[in-house]
Symmetry: C3
Subunit: 394 residues, 3 copies
């Protein structure tokens, strides 16, 4: 043999991932950071008199709306004997377990124990584990952290200041996942992608033809930086007529994607927010709320015209291979990507800043401090993001 | 924030289950208690010249009947090279492995090794692991415990004293599971349910409409107590005409459900016995034997009339949610329910006594003692249960 | 009870398997032995401009052929951010990842990083893990071991010396598995079977009727012995006309089955080789190369005539039970058979010699020595096997 092979797979070290930034169960570093914020757990329309199973941060819960119109979110397993409340009945005052009829209100208080003497003399001693919820922007938000650390539910300027004819619509189909509603991989793989500005011209412009627009296909110039609640990417691209497009995309804790419309139907501030909800360590979904002029229409009308792609759900595996998108790239990293195998480069600076920021906040919470972005002032003004697409003179 | 949330899911301790009462593998506390009794492993008609796979207490076995009509139960993997005897051939003298033709009799003795000199000079040194079986009441019972502790196969008075026109029929469809033949949860969840008298008016009377009868829908008065071989529940309900229904339900070791017909077609002593066989830690099935007057008819003729329910197998998930039964409540507790999360109340006294009794017996076996109900006297009279539905003057 | 039961399943010790001879992951004893040899990873036709997922020795890889016609085998996950190269694009110079467009040549060198300044000034510092491959006999072979120990790719006399009209054909349908292309059990179960001469008259002759020929149904006389690269079985059977059939079957490291045609269409040296490739610890497949006179025809024309069996793929489970073959016997041993439960006899001497040989070679590699059969001389003559069916005077 003339030369020795170098760089073969035989030399690769065993693969590992960074658990502290990816796993979200109660008691884990990231799980505790996540539990210091409110998370969407459903559309407002999901809380009804029919109990609905939801899985959030690795916990199995049941969402419902009592007869008084109040949404409730409780642990799925009844605190009495463990039967799932999925088979329960929703009543005026709460949800009743099918097995022995214990009735719980939306805060888990046990109101009736019909098999016990006097309907349960000691019923005040039990409590169905529950979480506080609030409705906003068409979504139901839950707070699953330590009660004494519960922040106010944030409001966002981009969803508060409506232009004429606009209203807020919400969506649970995981807009931005590039595929189905429940992605079988860790949430951080998607969250990092939001700051991964350079993949746009490659994955969405080159590999798949034009998924977005001709301008977006250009290789941009990008700067990343920290923000008060996350990390932002500022990118510029040249536009016909001597103009320049300036585009700012942000991520904010806990899981917000603040992404201006990549189809760039018009210029201006960001018109929607997405929450990259970790279902558990290996699944996520995205809830979205945004300003719209028509019900159920988030993506531009001319979608078929603007891209050469079928809808993902209608593609064959062969078509997905010929025109891969975010879903293929991110789910294709595995259920939890192996960080030990990575080789980050200068164009990955956004990913790097995000991980550093998350690491800092995980450590802050571990030290007993509040992480960035939590707010305890009910009078605080709505949060303003920089994100948007803007046209400027070059 | 005016007040602090209390009782939220954030405070719940990590969930655990009582392994010593639920797991049934060889060498586990409950597994060793279980192995001191006979268990049904099939219908008499299941032992034929075609080997049948059965799984019992976590062990994979093969059931067959040799050419002399004797049932045999052996470990599935051949003791020679491990091939499953499921592909074996049953012959006059036993079962022959497909791979190298070793022939084993019903007690695992190796009768032939056709590839060895002289048909195997040392064949007496090997033994296919086997278990003794006996046929009774249309069922095949196996003893899987220490040979020196093998009790006599019990006989039961309720299956011995037949009224005119009655005969014994056996069933393997898990009558009483409220659903399919193989339930994907721990056996104890079902076994406890037998003593859970108070769930009847709630789950079977209120949630699902009338699953049994109007009288059974009444909230009963219940007393529980130990018996010489288990625990019993004594309940009373008022009947039209100033009468009172007295109903006694029992569980007996190892897994017997002694449940009078809840449809109460007639009054009298219990007419059938069920065995809640643990297939493994997370699956069970029920074998039943009972006095009948017609083949294959355990439940009352007027089933359709007596209840408003379809058969479970014919229900949609939506219909099961609207009319949940035992299957939904018990499988809904999870594969093995988390006992750490429970809050037992006075109406759960039957469950509590059962667990105490099981715990006492598990400990007795661990100390080398015989558990209750085992009997080594072949002349012992049939076992009499108190169970039944009786009408008395109020 | 008159007598005590003996030999029941209750006395069986917990079951275990020999990990050092079965598991094939990197860093395991057998995995390291395996990685000292070349293994087939696909047909020559499998390496194309469409990336193909292959799994070998527990590693997920992607096989392709660049625009210059060179086959390449790289780790499936891109070394940049971990996205699978299954969604990559094959180009003139290599394979390009869909996510950020890094381009790798067939030896994993990074040729382009389009999102980095100047196409990646530091791109030489990264390397996509790759393995060397070579094409021979219609197959693609890979070497996955330590580079400094890379042997020459062996050539075999039986595939080099062609008779008139013969050519070499390759197959990936696992000829010899007795069933499907990917067997859900450990590779060693199949590999041992090759030396298990005595199962032929039982499994293939008696249980299933005549799977091969009447002569093969005879109980043979067998001798086993070590060879320079494995173990051989020499068997004799009487043939009509006072002749004797002498048949030699071999296994050779790493996974070669050197099996003369059991249908014995004609006598002579072995005409094909099979590689029992471990996909991972619990799956294997067989690649075959052989001398043929017709494309795609390995088995004798008269297959239907010579045996009473349907093709396995066309059989029902019932038919497989009535006529079990190698697949049923070997997959029926479980995903990895429990060696602790076995009772080997004199007719298992071939299995015993094979395990001893493998154990010796595993230990040799662990001591830093070269295992048998590896050769570093590119001028070495083709390897000659003894295997064949021969007719001699009795």
């Amino acid at each position: 043999m003339a030369t020795l092979d170098t760089g073969t797979g035989y030399e690769v070290k065993p693969s590992t991932y960074i658990a502290a930034l990816t796993e979200v169960g109660r008691g884990t570093p990231m799980g505790e950071l996540m539990r210091r914020y409110w998370h969407p757990v459903g559309l407002v329309s999901h809380a009804t008199s029919t109990p609905r199973e939801v899985r959030v941060l690795g916990e199995d819960l049941v969402l419902f709306r009592d007869g008084q119109g109040r949404p409730g979110l409780v642990q799925a397993r009844c605190c009495h004997r463990g039967t799932t409340l999925y088979y329960g009945k929703v009543e005026e005052r709460g949800i009743r377990c099918c097995y022995h009829g214990w009735l719980f209100d939306i805060e888990g208080r046990c109101l009736e124990q019909p098999c016990e003497p006097d309907g349960g003399r000691l019923r005040d001693r039990v409590r169905q584990p529950w979480y506080p919820v609030q409705e906003l922007y068409g979504l139901i938000f839950a707070y699953m952290g330590p009660p004494e650390k519960r922040p106010v539910l944030p409001r966002y300027e981009c969803l508060e200041s409506l232009d004429d004819g606009e209203f807020i619509d919400a969506d649970d189909t995981s807009i931005g996942s590039g595929g189905g509603a429940i992605a079988p991989c860790n949430w951080l793989q998607h969250f990092e992608n939001v700051l991964d500005t350079y993949h746009v011209p490659i994955l969405h412009g080159n590999f798949s033809g034009t998924q977005f627009t001709e301008v977006m296909n250009q290789m941009p110039k990008v700067k990343w930086d920290y923000t008060p609640r996350g990390v932002k990417a500022f990118s510029t691209r040249m536009v016909a007529g001597g103009k320049r497009m300036e585009r700012t995309t942000e991520v904010a804790l806990p899981t917000l994607r603040v992404v201006p419309n990549p189809f760039v139907g018009g210029y201006g501030r960001v018109e929607s927010l997405g929450w990259t909800l970790p279902i558990d360590d290996t699944h996520y979904r995205i809830y979205t709320a945004g300003r719209v002029r028509e019900k159920g229409v988030f993506l531009p009308k001319g979608l078929g015209a603007a891209t050469n792609r079928k809808r993902w759900i209608d593609m064959t595996e062969q078509e997905r291979r010929e025109s891969p998108g975010d879903w293929e790239a991110q789910v294709g990293q595995g259920t939890i990507t192996f960080h030990s195998d990575e080789h980050l480069a200068t164009s990955d600076k956004g990913v790097l800043l995000l991980r550093r920021m998350l690491n800092t906040q995980v450590n802050a919470v571990a030290r007993g401090e509040d992480p960035i972005g939590v707010c305890f002032d009910p009078e605080a003004p709505p949060i303003v993001f920089e994100a948007g697409n803007f046209l400027v003179d070059a």
